[in-house]
Structures are given as structure tokens and as C-alpha cells.
Subunit: 348 residues, 2 copies
DNA sequence: GCAAAAAATGTACACGCGTACATTTTGTCA
DNA sequence: TGACAAAATGTACGCGTGTACATTTTTTGC
């Protein structure tokens, strides 16, 4: 096929290759002849042969958490990040290979590199567990380019052994809690997610630090744990209702919107309305935040940008910024809506 | 590398290949020797070379609608289908290549096959437009295995020129509208999506057919059009409010949950509550349906199963069922919740 | 125990491309 | 115009598999 193009253009196959790849010096006239010939014959290079010859698949792998039941991860989180990754991948002329992780199976990420199926890797939904840690350590050891998204290993602010793109959930939680305090809340219940996720830890620390700064007491009974699902928030509503009705709590800060909405629904069954009987703040600013009634105050996370950043880092193969830093932490932003609405609280 | 394995096992490279691929007759003893040697050396076959030699990439391509702003397609729809596709792809030992479509650019799907980047294709979010039709026609002409998901070309029930997996939105809409009539509604407003999607057409026809069957009049003013976004539903609420307050409408059937929720929110601003002042039924049964207040009656669509089916069809390369039918239509199911709650309506 | 069939293994090469290196053409300067 | 450098193009080969075909080994049937 390439041979036919070469013959039609009156050149050698090598020249065809050079023209199509824009490499090496080529006379403008021959270039046009080759392109014309290729167009006429409808020649499309065999990507498999190209990858083989170049020893590059051109694929960015993205590992997804197992999500048969969409439970732990809101689909918002997932699809937004993927969208960001996709836009960057597309811009760089690469492709995106989706890799579905089996639940609790040993990860074999290095094999993906050894087989050259992927040139780079982004890991979504990693947890701080033996299984994940060893897999990532292995990748580091071998020097393969990869990036962990929305998860940090080691303490906050510490230098990461590998590329990491995260959002500043510590500051985000601080903002959220400060906002609750600003509107008059003093006893802020907190629904967190599992601490395998650095996200959860960051939020807890942000929550606690503001309490301390503000001279408010830290009350263990106010700190609850769900699993980031709506259902878990809903189930915690019984405890929350008691806390609120007894005056032990006047507000709820949930570590994501799904749990916030679940809690909101559960509390409603106890006759408690967000924005009226208690203030409620979620996290993520998913679509669901705007769909809830009352609309949910939340912390917007730049998931798309995080995806783009991770992709660009891992495809560029470089470190972050001019320095040799291995981790990027993107800012988040509080979005105030009805569930902490001042007017509604006043009308109480 | 393979050579080293061969030497260590004391066989030829061809035998190594045979063992690893489980092809051809191999003595059990040599098989074990080869496997042991491969394990010891940590040999991982080069996927690129395999693909090249086999002339198969092992990739199933999935074309995604452009979704910079997550507007037309709920992320629920998207991630559920993808999840279904993913499970099937994984089970078949293939990989999933994500292909992001640029907005309003000519589609070049055939090139993906010609370059052998993909062995099969699933098209998500196709519309009945020139751009899409010609692209699909081209694929058909060339005989490439592909499947269109959740979209039909040509009239309902007609034989499709290519593989199609859809859900029975006609029956689903009928069920929804019948349910509304069952609970006493007589003037059912209908918010549909753009008619580029066969989904929309099916829902409209289902809606109309039940009205006719039930002897209810068809009123043009009750039929509104949005774009499947929450915002569009919200914006139509003004018209709906007027219809409801003037007694022209007593219920709303929205073609998806997002628009239903948008309408619900908009109507609330007019003092109208779903399940109390009017009945509301959505479609898709996305998570959002359960997150809304009141929880939304909706039509559950087996998105995951559709994804699995499409993947299995297109990877199997076969037709659907024993007959030569080219299209599968999966059943949907009405899920009744509070927004059409009988008890609430009674208390009106 | 021998011939023939069957099973197991080895040998050799193609797959389509990119590219190092050799060769030819073009351009430059005196 | 000739010598030489630079640009343009051609030639040849490797990349790591899978597999058709040739060859060797084992089994079978008598």
C-alpha cells in the first residue's frame, strides 16, 4: 500500500514515510506529490506497524476503580476527571486506554509498560493500602511515568516519591467550616469518608484546624464516618437528627455531596430541613448539589483541570513547574447556596 | 528476550510462542519448562509486536460525544454504559480505547479501522444528522463491525442497516404516562428532548399513543422541548407553572431526570410542589432521581446491560439472536416514587 | 520390530513501518 | 566551470511476533 503511494508519487517508500511524518528534509514539490498520491489512494498508515516500529503505543492508560455498583465514587468525579484527561490526550495526539481494575486483585501495572501497551499511566481511585502502595512502588522503582490523581501517600505537604495531582482539600474544608461558623454555627457535625483516601484525612484535618483556630471544642460524637455513598449519609441521619434535636449540633459538613444529600433526605424524615433547622455543606460541587432542594452549599473541585494537569505531566514526562516538585495541589472554591442560606436561617 | 526464554527452556522460540498462546500440540513437560523459564525471566510478550503480527489491536473503540460542558448527556447515562462495555471488554480479554469526538467535526471512523487501531467500534451519542449518518453509512459499506448504542436510525421497528442496541423507550413512555393517568392525571404536559435523538421520538410517540388509547385530547401547548439539561427544564418551568395554575395541566412527564428536576425546581419557585400540586415523572432513573426531593418517579433504563450487549455483539462479530436481526431493544421499567405519590396527592 | 501415521518441535519468513547510512541531486563559491 | 558542501532521496534492515511448512520424535497397528 505504501509502496503504491511511492510508485504513484515517483519516490521511494522512505520518502513517503518522511513526508507523512514531517521528518527530515523534503523538497516542497515532492511533498505535495506524495500527499496527493496518498490522498488519491486513500492511504492510511497502519498504526500497529507504526507503534511497533516506534516502540511507542501512543496510549495513555487510565486505571479506574472497580465500579460495578457505582458507590464509592460519584460518577461526577469520575467523568469530569476523565473528560479533562481526554482533552489533554487528544491535544497531544495520543489515545486513551481505559483499564478496569478488578476488585481486590493484585495490580500488575508494570506489565502494561513492559508489554508497551501504554506509554504512561494515570491511576484513579488509588487507596492507601498495601495492594496499591506496592504496585505504585514497583512503578517508581522501574522508572515508568505515572501519576496518581486525587490521592496522596504520606503526610500532607511532604514530598511525594512520584507524580501526584491533588486538590487542596485541606483549605477547602477550612473554607467550608469557616463559612458555617460565619453564619453562626458553633456545633458542626462532620461526616467523613474512609481514611484510606487522603481526601478524607485532609478534610478531617481542615475541619479540626478551624475548630481549634476558632476556639470551638472538638467533640468526638460529632465526627461520623460514611463511605461517600448517598446511602451511608442517609443512614447516618438518625444519629444526626438526635444531635440536632438535642442541641448538640447545629450544622453538618459532609465530605462529599452524595453523603450530604443522603443526610439531608434522612433528616427531612425527622422533620429537619437543611437551611432552616440546620446548615448543611457538601463537597465536590457535583451536579447533584444544584439538583438538591434546597440547593447545596459545596466546595467546587477542579476535576477537569486536575485530569488535564495529570495527563500533561505524565505525557510530558517532566516534573511539575520549574522546580523538581513531584506534586501539584490545585485550589478549590466554596460555593454558597441555599443549604447554608442566611435568609432561611433568619426566618427560623 | 523470548530467545532467552527459549534457550533456558531448551526449546525453540516457536515453541515458546505456542505455549504462551496455547495453540498447537505441545507436550505437557515442555509446556511446564517454558512456563517456568518465562516466569523466572519475568518475560512479558510485547503487545505491540503481537498486535502487529496478528493484525489485531485487541481494542474496542468507544466514541464519546463531545462533553466539555456536561450538558446533553447526563454523566449517569454515560458512565453506566461505559461500565457495562468495560465489563464485557475485560471478560473477552480485549481493551477499551476511548475516542473523543470533536464537536461538529467530520467523523473519520473508517480510518480507525484502516489503521487497525480498533477491531470494533461502539458509537455513543450518535444523532440523526447528516454528519453522523454518512459516517455510519461508510462503516456499513466497508463492512466494519460497529454498533450504535441508544440511538436508532429509521422508523421504530424497522430493520436497521447495522447493529443497534437500544432500550424500549416507546413502551417506557407508555408505562409512565399510563401511570400518570392511573393516579388521576388527565392533562399531562410533556417535556421532550431534541428529535435528533430517536429516544426523543420514541418518547413522544409513546406519550401520544397512550393519550389516544385513553381518549385524552392531544394538546400542542402541553408539548414542550428542552435539551436534556437541568437548565432547560428549569427554564420551561415558567410555561409549566402557567399551565398548571390555569388548570391546563395537572402533571408533567419529562424525557429525562435532569429536565424533570430542573422543572421541579423552577415550579417550586412558583409555589408548586411535585407530588402535591402536580405529578411529575422523569426518565432514566439516574441517581439524581433518588436525590431529588421529593424523590422522582422515573423509568429505569438498563444502561449497563445495554453496554454489555453492544460490546458482546460487536466483539462477537455476530448478529443478534438466532435470527439475523440487527437490532436489540431492551426492556425498561417504571419506578414509582414520591413525585407521583398517591398519598401526597390525596392530601391535596 | 517395522512401517506408517500422528504428535511434537524446529526453521524461516512475513508483517509495515521508521530510520541509519549510502547515494544522488542541487546549490554555492571562487 | 569545477570542486565541494548541503540538501534530497534511495537502499537496506531491524523491530518481536505468529505461523506455514519442514523436520524430528513418538505412537500405533500388525
Amino acid at each position: 500500500m505504501r509502496q503504491q503511494v511511492a510508485k504513484l508519487a515517483g519516490v521511494s517508500e522512505a520518502t513517503v514515510s518522511r513526508v507523512l511524518n514531517g521528518v527530515g528534509p523534503v523538497k516542497e514539490a515532492t511533498k505535495q506529490r506524495v500527499l496527493a498520491a496518498a490522498a488519491e489512494l486513500g492511504y492510511v498508515p497502519n498504526a500497529l506497524a507504526q507503534q511497533f516500529a516506534r516502540k511507542k503505543s501512543g496510549n495513555l492508560g487510565v486505571v479506574l476503580p472497580h465500579m460495578a455498583k457505582v458507590s464509592l465514587f460519584s460518577t461526577y468525579y469520575f467523568s469530569e476527571m476523565l473528560s479533562g484527561i481526554g482533552s489533554e490526550v487528544q491535544a497531544s495526539g495520543n489515545d486513551l486506554l481505559l483499564l478496569f481494575r478488578e476488585a481486590d486483585q493484585p495490580r500488575n501495572y508494570t506489565a502494561l509498560f513492559q508489554s508497551q501497551k501504554i506509554d504512561a499511566l494515570i491511576v484513579l481511585g488509588a487507596r492507601n493500602m498495601e495492594l496499591d502502595r506496592t504496585a505504585l512502588e514497583e512503578l517508581t522503582q522501574e522508572g515508568y511515568p505515572f501519576c496518581v490523581l486525587n490521592q496522596r501517600f504520606g503526610p500532607r505537604g511532604s514530598e511525594s516519591p512520584f507524580l501526584t495531582v491533588d486538590a487542596d482539600h485541606w483549605s477547602g474544608s477550612q473554607e467550608a467550616v469557616r463559612h458555617l461558623i460565619d453564619i453562626g454555627c458553633r456545633r458542626i457535625a462532620f461526616i467523613n469518608g474512609p481514611e484510606q483516601y487522603s481526601n478524607s484525612i485532609d478534610r478531617r484535618e481542615g475541619y479540626l484546624s478551624v475548630l481549634v483556630q476558632s476556639g470551638l471544642p472538638i467533640e468526638q460524637p460529632l465526627m461520623l464516618t460514611g463511605n461517600y455513598s448517598r446511602k451511608s449519609g442517609y443512614e447516618l441521619a438518625n444519629q444526626l437528627a438526635e444531635l440536632i434535636k438535642s442541641g448538640q449540633a447545629d450544622s453538618v459538613f459532609a465530605a462529599n455531596d452524595r453523603m450530604a444529600i443522603g443526610a439531608m433526605q434522612g433528616l427531612r424524615e425527622h422533620g429537619l430541613e437543611a437551611g432552616r433547622d440546620y446548615a448543611l455543606c457538601g463537597y465536590d460541587d457535583a451536579d447533584a448539589a444544584r439538583m438538591a432542594s434546597p440547593q447545596l452549599t459545596s466546595v467546587a473541585v477542579p476535576f477537569q483541570e486536575m485530569g488535564r494537569k495529570a495527563a500533561s505531566l505524565v505525557l510530558g514526562g517532566g516534573s511539575i513547574g520549574a522546580d523538581a516538585s513531584r506534586s501539584a495541589v490545585l485550589p478549590v472554591q466554596l460555593v454558597i447556596r441555599e443549604s447554608t442560606g442566611v435568609q432561611q436561617r433568619r426566618s427560623k
